[in-house]
């Protein structure tokens, strides 16, 4: 089922523009959380981001997560409930 929700596209565009990733995958996991707190039927509320970018080279785990969090701040305030991040530098 395709969702009219453009959250995934917005997340991908924003991270791609800011971090120039080698690869990026934005996965909607909202369906795995149906009935849980924060889940809103038909809305993208739970997202997993797998991102490989040179920008993460030499950065700590905490720093990498903060870089992504900071870019997606507005999504969190706009109803995104859970954001799982798998940040890697090329070659990791």
């Amino acid at each position: 089922m395709t969702k009219p929700d453009k959250t995934l596209d917005r997340i991908r565009d924003r991270l791609t523009a800011a971090l120039k990733p080698e690869s990026i995958e934005v996965v909607d996991e909202s369906g795995m959380h149906v009935g849980h707190a924060g889940a809103i039927p038909g809305k993208v509320t739970h997202v997993r981001v797998l991102i490989t970018a040179e920008a993460f080279q030499g950065k700590s785990r905490l720093d990498r997560h903060r870089m992504v969090n900071d870019l997606l701040n507005h999504e969190m305030s706009a109803g995104l409930h859970a954001l799982a991040i798998v940040p890697k530098a090329p070659g990791e």
Binding site: H33, H36, A37, R61, L62, H65, R66, N69, N73, M76, A82, L83, A84, I85, V86
Partner: protein, 110 residues
Amino acid sequence: MSIQDFIKNEVTGNDVVLFMKGTPQFPQCGFSGQVVQILDYVGAPYKGINVLDSAELRQGIKDYASWPTIPQLYVKGEFVGGADIVREMFQAGELQSFLAEKGVKVAAKV
């Protein structure tokens, strides 16, 4: 006492503190539950604080470490990370060494 003072007291007064949704016995969120399982597995004694008890705390903890999500793990007053980071550290074997470095005694495994 302000909510920020309350949080500071908790994270400096206890070696390991987990701000979570629900309690260690009854986590009410999958991410909080994962961190509980990991801490229990490594045998680290910790204090679980349920942010669902207070809307002020739920927002306050996000402001405290400028971190937008819950759970949040603190060791000796220092913010360690959320569920992703704790899981990555655990899988890499770094969580155990990190706790040891910080002087947190973990229970011996049976």
